[in-house]
Symmetry: C4
Subunit: 253 residues, 4 copies
């Protein structure tokens, strides 16, 4: 079935999946803020809801579109695929990324509706500070390293659990609570609730995420080595899972 | 063994399983309310207890009855089976749904007894508001999409973990804390404790869940495509897991 | 290796494993009480620590002794084995149960030492009330039903995760916070800290657990049917996992 | 791929992995302390972040270096390998341990930077008391027993989940919150935040961990028996997983 899914359907899956991810992040944030006055309890709730929700989305949509749900992941997969003649091409990437961003905005609007908030109102939550940008770069580098490393070591099937757990940890160990996803960042600008991010803070966050992407790709090359060249025999193909497989480990937040 | 279980035994499993699910939801709700004054901590406890308990019930009872534990899931399985000549027939559905509702009421009574509450007292917890109904519709649509998608992509064996995690997330990202189950909704009317729902709020909740069922079925058709026709060769059968399998992914909350 | 482990070594494993389980329950209880003033947070910590710790113990010691860690589980395995000529015999049970009780007491003493408490002091925590006994009976019946059902449906390999998650839920949905284990109950009488139980409350708790054992065995017969008779052909053996397997699902809390 | 990874690359993986582990422990500790005034909520957050983060690191780096991330684990693997002619040799251990310590310090510095703390400042958090040392010895003995037992019973593939869950439980049931790792202990001296440890407390902690290592190795010999001698036939090799396998279960915190 995965081979027969049209690009349109795969893009629709990326759109719905990213939307669901943003609805989880925003909805849980609003619920947690409404219920608890302890900011630690709030982040516990948000991080656990995201672990559960993201893991489910990756498992459900992975077989159809790869479940990137994140432009950084799509770009990383395209970059690796470009060198090895596998992974999404420029055409796929050009379809996925706008679908992810549109879905993210839709997810924020849906969460606003579910919690009786104005459907669209710009966030006033300023998140501009150098140490937050460092947090975003670290979070994104780790995500890229994880997605690449799982694929390279033949453990792509662990991606739903591993990526969800990674983000659950990164909520806590990074100062920015780990957005690590440009589409999610844009979507969260469309809600004036606790999980929002002011539009003026979006661009620096996305820039930090792109820096993290580059760092993650470089770190992956150092730690996991380069893929075998295309002329490598079948034995090497066994050891190094190529990016052309149906279900890339790359997956998103 | 699954093939030899009589309809009576399968209905008994649906009854006990749904009862256990309601006992978990109500019991954890009473315990959490008694122990913590922070409503965020209370919902954390309820959501984690449900994730653990629901996952166990689906794993334990799936091989016998399919572990629907939820009329919406039974209806969705019947609908898909009707078209493809598989899944539960009208006779099975007519046995499952009353068993689920009876079990749900029994589970609420048992929870009341375990916490020294009156065995039966109507809930006075009003839950009537449009944004809560939207929450129920979204929660149920997501559940139906998940159950269908896992089956269609050959990952039905992940259902116990995936459905439990989904509900754990939906507790937080939906405004209604995701009942998503008509039997559970009816059962929770029988307890005048925090997790209860006033009888007057039950019908709109169930209606919203049925709307979610329709939305979920439609969304699944868009994102996962239609099943191969009955005349399809064996190769298609491999790619598209038929609904006649012993352990449907559909499973409930 | 499992076949070659002597009865003495298996009993030692039951002793150390049950001791570790009690050390987790008591240690986490003392730590949680010391750190938080919110009783909900305390129970969250205890339930999560037990889920993590119990799952690890069952996975680690299952291949050696079956990881009962609980006299109720040993008795249930003996009862079923008696009828089917498999499972632990009277000799094994007579070795396991004292080892479990001795280990449980040792675990409580170790936890007392780790938290600078008197090594042994009787608990003054009264836990005598009919609704708590009902909670214990329900918790134990569920545990027995789970252990039996997983074995009968060929899912014994899920026991470490399923039993740990079950106890994590039962901490919340039962009024007694689910001891469900006579050895653990006795061990917790040896610590005058929050997780303790006054000696006068021990006997009724154990009696309720034994009632739960009987209810669980009966419920399992109704829901999962009786095992195939010894004369059944190999095909039936495939469908019904016999109790003589190396790693019984039965496992304890 | 695991066979071709050079010692330099494996040491780099140990360095980065241990650094990431310390960044998780320190970062989550700083975040939790900043967000919540309830010390129970703080420890819940730290323990869950560590469970998620440690599990991911073990799954990601296990195929390359074995993912020890802990000098105690490296020493235990060397000890067992020395007797059986497998596991890391003295040369590997001499490369791994300094890499782990260097990485741990780097991870603490990175966490300090992400949270806008001074990059290096000695901790003033005194952790000197006999019952804390007992906690460290118990925590480390359990970790060594777990890593050894999983390997001996052929369940090394469960190590990422099992070790992460073990540490999650040990955060709560030991009085010291389970450092159980000399490199982590040294790294946490480099941050004057809540998760830090004063330099004067480091040496006794490391000494207690080494005592725990010895206790764990002895306990493992009692409970799991000795490995089959090298002259044992292939049948024994099947039952007893040798230490020379590519991905040792031993893994760290």
């Amino acid at each position: 079935m995965t081979q027969t899914a049209s690009l349109g359907r795969r893009a629709a899956v990326e759109c719905v999946g990213t939307g669901a991810l943003v609805a989880v992040a925003v909805g849980a944030g609003v619920q947690a803020t409404a219920l608890s006055r302890d900011a630690g309890v709030q982040l516990l709730a948000c991080s656990l809801a995201t672990v559960f929700g993201l893991g489910v989305l990756l498992a459900l949509f992975g077989p159809i579109s790869g479940a990137h749900l994140n432009p950084v992941v799509t770009l990383a997969a395209w970059w690796h695929g470009r060198r090895e003649g596998a992974g999404p091409g420029a055409r796929e990437a050009a379809a996925y990324i706008p679908a992810q961003v549109a879905g993210a905005i839709g997810g924020a609007v849906l969460a606003n509706a579910m919690f009786a908030q104005p459907l669209v109102r710009w966030s006033t939550h300023d998140r501009s500070a150098p140490h937050l940008w460092l947090g975003e770069a670290v979070a994104t580098a780790g995500l890229v390293l994880l997605a690449f490393g799982l694929t390279r070591t033949g453990r792509a099937h662990l991606a739903p659990v591993a990526v969800a757990c990674y983000i659950g940890a990164a909520y806590w160990f990074t100062s920015s609570t780990s957005f690590a996803n440009p589409a999610l960042t844009i979507g969260r600008a469309f809600t004036d609730t606790a999980p929002g991010i002011a539009p003026a803070s979006v661009l620096p966050f996305v820039a930090a995420q792109l820096v993290g992407l580059v760092v993650g790709v470089a770190l992956a090359a150092v730690l996991f080595g380069r893929a075998a060249p295309a002329a490598a025999p079948a034995a090497a193909q066994d050891a190094v899972v190529p990016h052309a497989e149906d279900q890339p480990a790359a997956s998103g937040h």
